[in-house]
């Protein structure tokens, strides 16, 4: 069949670029390899290699541009475009669509490697050939993830240009595709609404740049082993490694900020496998960077430096495997689905792991022997200890996160612990404590040996200030947990000691204090994380009065508050009113006003929060929080339950209509509730004035007296039970002020109960939401620390590059 309006040329062009990028990455790697084996520096191999890598780079850019053209013009004939975008979507989310899918995110990663490779081609000098051999090889592997070709019935890679929607195995039989004009009617599935925010535009590129930067120390380490230049690779690899520390660190915390702002799990860190998968390589990268520093200064800890540089890159590959293979299953909220590339990823992982281990084993006997042991009072010893602590900490995180892998490997049946977050917190707290202590004292130690008396003298001021600050914080925060107090002290100490070092030792020279600034930042990150997490206060409480504790201690979960439209309820330090909902596009906002009570009892409106629920018929309903930021605390709220059915129904209810009747069986004195009143059944009577009811003489009539109380007034309802010609013909009773109508249906003399039904006017039934609200104290310290840490690290790199020129 001839299909009308398809744009198959883009796919063909894109496909050519995919093949070119793979072929030339491979060619670059091979020719760089031969160039590295030669003695002369500017040989013909090198020229071929350089040109090949540039063609590879251009091809990658070609792929990116082709994919953009497809997304911008809504070419839904391509499965990738259909899957990740639609026509309604604002143009600013095109970038997000680009890397929402696995193929796009691999492309983003490949693109950063190209940028790094081009810079290394110009700056790496003697190291260019061996280092670029490795990077080109990594590129060839990554480029193959996009190939989408079959080799012996195994598909290699997934190619966004080659998969047409009408040829996709899941959809090919859909009748739509028997219409040659199908494209005119087709709209895309669209971007997951959860990802439609600016974080999705900035977080992935930052994180993937961080990932990409870990390839540099890896490639240098392999090159150093290969060329038997065991110490020389360190100096050029050092600034790159610290750049990776800064970028990956920001990327990881950006993910936390995104989760805090847009996801409703109530916090910035949940130890989710996907979060752990990017945190762990960061920890080992920090370890690597510090070991490289030791080695550059003192030539020690070489083997560990090699090991960590290689391990970090392997961990990046392993993380990619964990998140992309679908193995995490139900343990993670945001794992990708399997695209059938996990086998391929594992092959790459083991290839580079074995390459690294093989080269280390081969060179073991040539490694320079350490003649003297590090002194116990030397800076290098304690830096080494710090790096090892980070390694052990990342081992603990990775081992637990890999549970689904162990389940699969050893046919186990283990599920993650119920209280996952506190399990991780308890394990990681001692590591964080030691690390922050070491950060505090680190720079006061001198390389080789330290005069311990002078050291003590220099430290005393920081220690004194830190203790004072800690006790002050414990007092104002009412910090009762001793275990947490230790970390409170150590992270304050890390910040204070480094600030003191900067002021007194470096004489306040900001330019030279990059390391101190970065360390202050790290101390603040942990301090902010500790306070905001441990003193997190859930202020929305169950006000129903019904005890949940009676069901067992483990089940107390009074974390939600029910707000009925118009009512004002106390919540934490505030009084809150749910004003109503409004719909904007697919978002339904729930406006909640926050008041404080003055001394006179008058209410002052402080602010309004509008947590929302995103309703998307294709993707389900997703709650997103709304947070009010103050300098010292945040008020964070999200809707946990709202009646979304009524949004979809048209507003037909007029003020006079009644809701469906609800039946109640009541004994004397029983109480029931309507949405606006308390209703009590008082008594029955057969002896009453029957004239207003126009009854026959033979009729049996019983009147019920029902007390109805609202906040201000008392009413009475008197429905009558009538048997007329042996049929029940009840006479209703209305209370118009409250919009209530009662009917009296049955008497059961043996049990002493009656059955009545109650109807309310539709205008009575008020909307309600169930909401969760929490206060995060001092969370701004965390974000501030993150920025300070990144700036300090960048400053240190800048100074190092300037010095080496």
């Amino acid at each position: 069949m001839e299909y009308i309006g398809e744009h198959l040329w883009v796919g063909k062009v894109g496909n050519v670029f995919v093949i070119l990028s793979f072929v030339f990455a491979l060619l670059a790697s091979i020719s760089y390899f031969f160039s590295a084996q030669e003695k002369e520096s500017a040989s013909s191999w090198k020229r071929i290699a350089r040109v090949s890598f540039r063609i590879h780079g251009l091809s990658v850019i070609g792929i990116v541009v082709s994919l953009f053209i497809m997304l911008m013009n809504h070419y839904f004939e391509y499965e990738y475009v259909w899957h990740h975008s639609n026509k309604e979507m604002p143009i600013r989310y095109i970038l997000s669509c680009f890397w929402e899918g696995q193929e796009g995110s691999f492309l983003l990663w490949t693109f950063w490697h190209v940028v790094i490779g081009i810079i290394l081609q110009r700056s790496a000098k003697n190291w260019e050939a061996p280092v670029m051999t490795i990077i080109s090889l990594v590129q060839a592997f990554l480029a193959s993830m996009l190939l989408g070709i079959f080799v012996f019935e195994h598909r290699i890679g997934s190619n966004p240009f080659a998969v047409l929607l009408r040829e996709h195995p899941d959809f090919s039989k859909i009748p739509l595709f028997s219409d040659p004009h199908y494209l005119e009617k087709l709209d895309g599935r669209g971007l997951n609404p959860l990802l439609q925010n600016y974080w999705m535009t900035i977080h992935p590129p930052t994180l993937f740049l961080g990932f990409a930067l870990t390839v540099v120390p890896f490639a240098y380490a392999i090159a150093g082993l290969w060329k038997k230049q065991f110490n020389e690779w360190i100096k050029p690899a050092l600034p790159w490694t610290f750049l990776g520390v800064a970028v990956l660190g920001v990327g990881v915390l950006m993910g936390g900020a995104w989760a805090y702002e847009a996801l409703s799990f109530g916090g910035f860190w949940a130890w989710d496998p996907v979060e752990n998968a990017s945190l762990v390589p960061w920890l080992t990268l920090v370890g690597t960077a510090h070991l490289l520093l030791i080695n550059k200064q003192k030539g020690q800890s070489l083997i560990t430096a090699f090991f960590l540089a290689i391990l970090t890159f392997i961990l990046i590959l392993y993380s990619t495997f964990l998140t992309r293979s679908g193995i995490l299953g139900e343990t993670s909220v945001h794992a990708f689905t399997d695209l059938g590339m996990s086998g391929q990823l594992l092959i790459y992982l083991f290839f580079f792991l074995l390459l690294g281990l093989f080269l280390m084993a081969k060179n073991w006997k040539y490694f320079p022997k350490q003649t003297e042991e590090e002194g116990i009072w030397s800076r290098e010893f304690w830096m080494f200890v710090g790096a090892i602590v980070l390694l052990v900490s990342s081992f603990q995180i990775m081992f637990y996160t890999s549970m689904p892998v162990w389940n699969k490997l050893f046919s186990l049946n283990k599920a993650p612990a119920k209280d996952l977050i506190s399990f991780y917190n308890n394990w990681q707290l001692p590591f964080a404590f030691i690390t922050t202590l070491l950060i505090g004292v680190g720079q006061y130690f001198k390389y080789k040996d330290t005069d311990i008396k002078a050291f003590g003298k220099k430290m005393s001021l920081s220690l004194f200030i830190s203790f004072a600050l800690t006790f002050f914080m414990i007092y104002i925060l009412q910090f009762h947990n001793n275990y947490y107090s230790l970390l409170l002290f150590s992270s304050i100490f890390a910040a204070v000691a480094n600030a003191d070092y900067m002021i007194r030792v470096m004489k306040g020279k900001v330019k030279k204090s990059g390391a101190s600034i970065a360390h202050i930042g790290f101390g603040l990150v942990l301090l902010g994380a500790l306070i905001s997490t441990s003193k997190k206060d859930i202020i929305s409480q169950n006000t129903s009065g019904k005890s949940i504790e009676s069901l067992g201690k483990d089940f107390s979960n009074n974390d939600n508050i029910l707000l009925t439209q118009g009512d004002t309820l106390p919540m934490g330090n505030y009084l809150v009113t749910y004003k109503g909902k409004r719909q904007e596009g697919i978002n339904v906002y729930y406006d909640v006003d926050y008041f404080t009570k003055g001394k006179t009892g008058a209410l002052t409106k402080e602010f309004t929060l509008s947590p929302l629920v995103q309703t998307n018929p294709k993707m389900g309903n997703i709650a997103e929080p709304d947070t009010r930021h103050f300098l010292t605390y945040d008020v964070y709220t999200h809707v946990t339950y709202a009646d979304l059915e009524s949004i979809n129904q048209k507003k037909e209810a007029t003020a006079d209509e009644y809701t469906a009747a609800k039946n109640y069986t009541l004994k004397k004195g029983d109480t029931i509730f309507s949405s606006n009143a308390i209703i009590i059944y008082d008594s029955l009577s057969t002896n009453f004035d029957k004239t207003p009811y126009h009854l026959d003489e033979k009729d049996i009539a019983v009147k019920a007296y029902i007390r109805v109380l609202d906040i201000t007034k008392k009413y009475e309802a008197t429905p009558v039970y009538v048997i007329h010609n042996s049929a029940v013909q009840p006479i209703s009773s209305k209370i118009d002020e409250l919009g209530l109508q009662f009917m009296f249906w049955q008497i059961d003399p043996t049990k002493g109960t009656i059955q009545i039904s109650l109807q309310e006017k539709k205008s009575n039934v008020r909307d309600f939401i169930v909401m969760q609200a929490m206060v995060f104290p001092y969370i701004n310290i965390l974000w501030m620390g993150c920025i300070i840490m990144a700036l300090g690290t960048l400053l240190a790199i800048w100074e190092r590059i300037k010095k080496s020129k």
């Binding site: 899941d170 009617k185 139900e330 603990q396 049946n413 119920k418 993707m619 389900g620």
Partner: protein
């Protein structure tokens, strides 16, 4: 003994500790009948919502109480009492993971994880308008 050796021993001890606690600090995936045998232990039960049986959520009475019937992967049906709000989109869930204990004939769940494949993978190409 060198310092490096002492350090090594400490690391190995901590690492073994990490492995050990990891294996101890887990719950187990189980069926309702397996969970009933050990009423004091916490289990993860995987299953599907029985859409024919009534689910009860009356937020005006208690916003943190929701009950429904679930059929586990072995086909056993059991009443579930969830001590939380009714999750948004509950009826659309394709798979449910409950975390909790069996008490009598009811499964008292303290937490729930839902898989709604519609969120990411569902949806077929359809003609608009």
């Amino acid at each position: 003994m060198k310092k490096i050796h002492i350090l090594g021993i400490i690391i190995i001890a901590v690492a073994i500790g990490a492995i050990f606690t990891t294996l101890n600090n887990t719950s187990t995936y189980a069926s309702f009948s397996e969970a009933a045998k050990e009423p004091d232990s916490e289990f993860h039960v995987v299953g599907k919502l029985n859409k024919d049986s009534a689910s009860v959520y009356e937020p005006k009475v208690d916003a943190n109480l929701f009950s429904f019937y679930m059929v586990d992967n072995k086909g056993t049906q059991c009443k579930v009492v969830l001590h939380k709000n009714k999750p948004q989109d509950f009826e659309r869930s394709e798979q449910i993971v409950l975390i909790g204990k069996m008490t009598g004939n009811e499964f008292q769940a303290s937490d729930i994880l839902m898989k709604c494949p519609s969120k990411y993978n569902d949806g077929k190409p359809t003609a608009s308008n």
